[in-house]
Subunit: 216 residues, 2 copies
């Protein structure tokens, strides 16, 4: 299929969306298969059954496609985060749901964490800024709001939001290493159960650090 | 200076040690300057004032030199860890010192964390295994011993050591991101003070998660 077929077809709008999504699906499937974000345009084209020129057409470049993939996977999580912020529940419960949401998102999109870190520490400054704006800043702001609510109500002790963010995100991000550590610890436990326990451990640990009686 | 001068000199032993350390010092200085581990043999040679052939002679390859650098920086931390394990103090205090030790090591060798992760997730399987053996396994084993002591004495609640390791290391590793987050939070706080507070926050948070009254 040539790119002009897609671009000039009367059913252009619908096919465009279809092709765009198929390219993203193909890239996601390849990253999962390879356990690596090092995939080529030719491979994305072969997997999707589309011409690799369409990647340039829709996304500008392979990096543009990867940013769009990150954005697509993050969209659902960010919508849930916005909804969470508006809920009328205790700040501690809000923080528990927020942290659980981060790790559930990683579970849903197993390559999201790797993609995110590769782009945040990659050589491309505009990409770093874009990914920061898309994902880092919203999570940072969300935590800052929940912390402010909890401190205002006396539910939380005073905690610097930057320090809280780093320690919480650090523990959440390690969710992606659960498989490796399970092998290292030779307990033969079930991975899904181990991951459930990891999420519970991290949520309990991080939220407990906010209790008025925590710290020194 | 040609490599044969070094190798054939009568003062060979002393000069060998000197040249080896100078190459490691040069690589460390370059990584700190660049804030990147992407350094070339030619640059290491120029910085050290030695012939780049000496890198092959002492370390086999640039990767070999980077592993040796990691090993040199980790040696002091690992010796302190061994000493800690033999101390006759409460398990909680031992864990506090252990976690503080990890972050202090990162502070002392600002590139250690980046080097460690690049090698643990790099393409070279023997290097991954070697770095795992040198650094990951000892830290994992140390925590397992402290946890076992604490649980045996009723100081700690029962906690899976794999889950504990991941969550604790995740929060410790983020120590290297303190500078970025301090800029993000626009509080204008002092970096050294912020880092001190980060260490205290993480140590308090992680050790509190082990208390018999923690969790659900």
């Amino acid at each position: 299929m040539s790119s002009s077929n897609i671009i000039l077809s009367p059913k252009r709008g619908a096919e465009r969306t279809g092709a765009r999504e198929r390219l993203l699906d193909a890239a996601a499937a390849l990253i999962i298969e390879r356990e690596s974000i090092e995939i080529s345009l030719a491979e994305i084209a072969a997997k999707s059954g589309l011409n690799s020129a369409l990647v340039k057409y829709y996304f500008g470049s392979k990096t543009g496609l990867l940013v769009a993939l990150l954005q697509r996977d993050a969209a659902r999580a960010l919508a849930e985060m916005e909804e969470l912020l508006s809920m009328n529940i205790a700040a501690a419960q809000k923080m528990r749901l927020h942290l659980r949401g981060i790790m559930t998102t990683y579970r849903r999109s197993p390559y999201l964490n790797r993609l995110l870190h590769a782009m945040l520490h990659g050589p491309d400054e505009p990409v770093r800024r874009e990914v920061h704006r898309l994902l880092v800043q919203p999570v940072f702001n969300c935590q800052r709001k929940i912390l402010a609510e909890g401190m205002a109500r006396g539910e939380f002790r005073p905690v610097d939001h930057g320090i809280f963010y780093l320690s919480a995100i650090g523990a959440c991000d390690q969710f992606m290493q659960t498989e490796g550590v399970l092998m290292l610890s030779h307990t033969g436990a079930d991975l899904d159960l181990f991951r459930d326990q990891y999420i519970t451990h991290v949520v309990d640990m991080v939220v407990a650090s906010l209790a008025p009686t925590a710290g020194r």
